[in-house]
């Protein structure tokens, strides 16, 4: 089992009132950056980098980053720069980018160059995830949402070709046009850095991943619904001649550990502060999913799945609706002492069977001290126990898979 640590790197120095008084009561896109204090940012970024460096020390296999735009909920608007820093200041863990929002890039060659540079500096530790980005990413960069999926696929094809085909070559596509594709730098990993795709279960993306043998990382999805999503992936995989295993799936969960259940319960409330993750104040639909962004497929199976995703109380009502206690009761967040966390995770892992576990250790107002203690306990108690559970449940990860490593080559 592959264990990676994650935080969205939140900025929380604003009040709920600030958000309520902003255009459309939205915390993303139009919440004015005059609420951002760069001096605070200086402190926060370096703190988050310190925490990632410590995550290596306590034994995580991977350091996961993500990217969002125009939002205090995630300071990773230019994630590749953070990745470059981690490439230089850490030695062992994979640097897992989940991921670069392909449709918003007008220059996929430059993206391929950036990622190659990071892979080289890190000594071949890059895992290069790609995403479509939320609607906010399209709006913040003024990328036509109608072309989101087409640009995702074309940019992906071009990045992979740039990494694997000797230059110079030309590319005259629908959305991208280059006359001399020949960046001198190509990635250290051959044929290219592994590609993992995170998401909340869009059937089109699941099938696209299965066709390419790309691991799919479920982002806090409802465990029951996830079984249906995995079935869609598995069916497409079989059509492409292979049987997917745990190495094809990952799961992201908020997991926070402190010395005692009581302490963890109190500290864990910090996840509720600010407007992180699923969002306490739901975003306007036109921000999250502008017209044209979503799929118009009428496959009944897809419609059912989409309905299921939409009706997940955890996602829809926001945290105010879901309530802290009910989230914990449903084990959508795992918060407690090491023993509690380990036993709850055994249950979750047995049911979800991911080869990759993304551990969202802290966010919102959880303090640096509490985060460091959490990481320390992870290293001392939780990670070793999870590795044993992983062995016992045979949760093979992509790097342990014999033969072709998932994430590398289309089958």
């Amino acid at each position: 089992m592959f264990l990676m640590r994650f935080t969205e790197r939140a900025y929380v120095n604003y009040t709920e009132e600030d958000v309520r008084n902003s255009p459309n009561e939205a915390v993303r896109l139009t919440f004015s950056n005059s609420n951002f204090d760069p001096a605070e940012g200086h402190y926060l970024y370096n703190m988050y980098l310190d925490e990632y460096e410590y995550s290596e020390e306590v034994g995580f296999d991977g350091l996961m980053l993500n990217e969002h735009h125009n939002t205090p909920t995630c300071l990773g608007a230019t994630m590749n720069l953070e990745a470059a820093i981690l490439a230089r200041v850490t030695k062992k863990p994979k640097i897992v980018l989940l991921g670069n929002p392909l449709p918003i890039f007008d220059n996929p060659i430059r993206l391929a160059e950036e990622l190659a540079e990071i892979d080289m500096i890190s000594g071949g530790r890059l895992v290069s995830g790609f995403v479509r980005g939320t609607g906010v990413e399209s709006l913040a960069t003024n990328t036509n949402p109608l072309h989101n999926r087409a640009r995702f696929e074309e940019a992906h094809d071009l990045v992979i070709k740039t990494w694997t085909t000797p230059g110079p070559f030309r590319w005259e596509g629908d959305h991208y046009h280059f006359r001399v594709v020949n960046p001198f730098q190509t990635p250290l990993q051959k044929p290219h850095p592994p590609v993992w795709i995170p998401g909340t279960g869009s059937p089109e993306t699941l099938i696209w991943c299965a066709e390419r043998n790309y691991p799919y990382i479920f982002l806090e999805t409802d465990p029951q619904g996830t079984q249906d999503m995995k079935a869609i992936y598995a069916e497409a995989a079989r059509e492409h001649g292979y049987e997917p295993g745990p190495e094809n799936f990952g799961y992201l969960v908020r997991i926070h550990v402190q010395d005692t259940d009581e302490k963890a319960y109190d500290v864990g409330k910090g996840y509720m502060v600010g407007n992180i993750g699923v969002g306490r104040i739901p975003l306007p639909r036109d921000y999250a999913s502008p017209v044209g962004y979503g799929s118009r497929s009428d496959d009944p199976r897809f419609l059912r799945l989409r309905e299921q995703i939409r009706s997940d109380p955890f996602r829809v009502g926001g945290l105010d609706g879901a309530q802290y206690d009910s989230i914990l009761d449903s084990k959508r967040w795992i918060i407690g002492s090491p023993d509690t966390v380990i036993s709850q995770l055994r249950e979750v892992l047995s049911f979800m069977r991911p080869g990759i576990l993304a551990v969202w250790t802290n966010d919102g107002s959880i303090s640096h001290e509490d985060t460091m203690r959490c990481l320390e306990l992870m290293g001392q108690e939780v990670l070793p126990a999870l590795r044993e559970i992983g062995e016992e449940l045979e949760l093979t990860d992509p790097f342990q898979k014999e033969g072709v490593m998932p994430g590398l080559t289309a089958i």
């Binding site: 030309r170 005259e172 629908d174 046009h177 006359r179 001399v180």
Partner: protein, 259 residues
Amino acid sequence: MPNFTEETISVAGGNLQVYKGGSGDPLLVLHGAGGNAGPRRYAQALAEKFTVYLPSHPGYGKSDRPGWVETMQDLACFYTWYQEQEGLENARAIGFSMGGWLAAEMLSMTGHAFRKVMLVGAAGIKPNDGEITDIFIISPQQVRELVYHDPAQVPEWDELFGSDPTPEQAQQAEGDREMAIRLTWRPYMHNPRLPAKLGRVSIPTHIVWGENDNLVPVECARLYQQALAGSQVTVIPNCGHSPQIEKPDEFVQAALAFL
């Protein structure tokens, strides 16, 4: 031999340089990316039957560029404007190379542009197999080497290339090249949506290609034929990208038969 005059008229707020000669129905000749070489032998021959209009595109030669002419679609808009002003709607037309692309863009915009159109080594459609040669990344000298299949058979070679260009001519060529870059840089020399838009065309079209075209692959003749219902294709053997210069007699014969 018909007499050609050079005139300057005002179109869309700028000066347009036009060579005009001959008599008969109007024939609009649209030059390629390399610029307006004036009334060469083929134009003289055509002027026996038609009144030939050979303008320098905006930004080329002595023609001004109205600031809004940035793309091939802008250029097509400019020329429909020119046609209306000069009463050249529904004329016959020949487009060479980039000028062929221009004629095709005009065809896609209105049914009133032309009565009959000839596309010669036309850019505008991306080949499936080969590539349209990138003429900007190589020197003008290298481009010339690619344009002609066999320089020895070009009757006007000495006239066209026999002497070194004067500084003024060199400046002019540089300006022409800049204009070509402005118009065709990206996507390079084609419009991905053009083939579909040519579905509206119902007038007679004739596609002419040099068999040994090293700039726009001869494959594009077939792609134009597929896009233009009822079009006919003539491939001239042993000939490069500019049949009208390299094989003027054969070219004129094909043109007169069609037009």
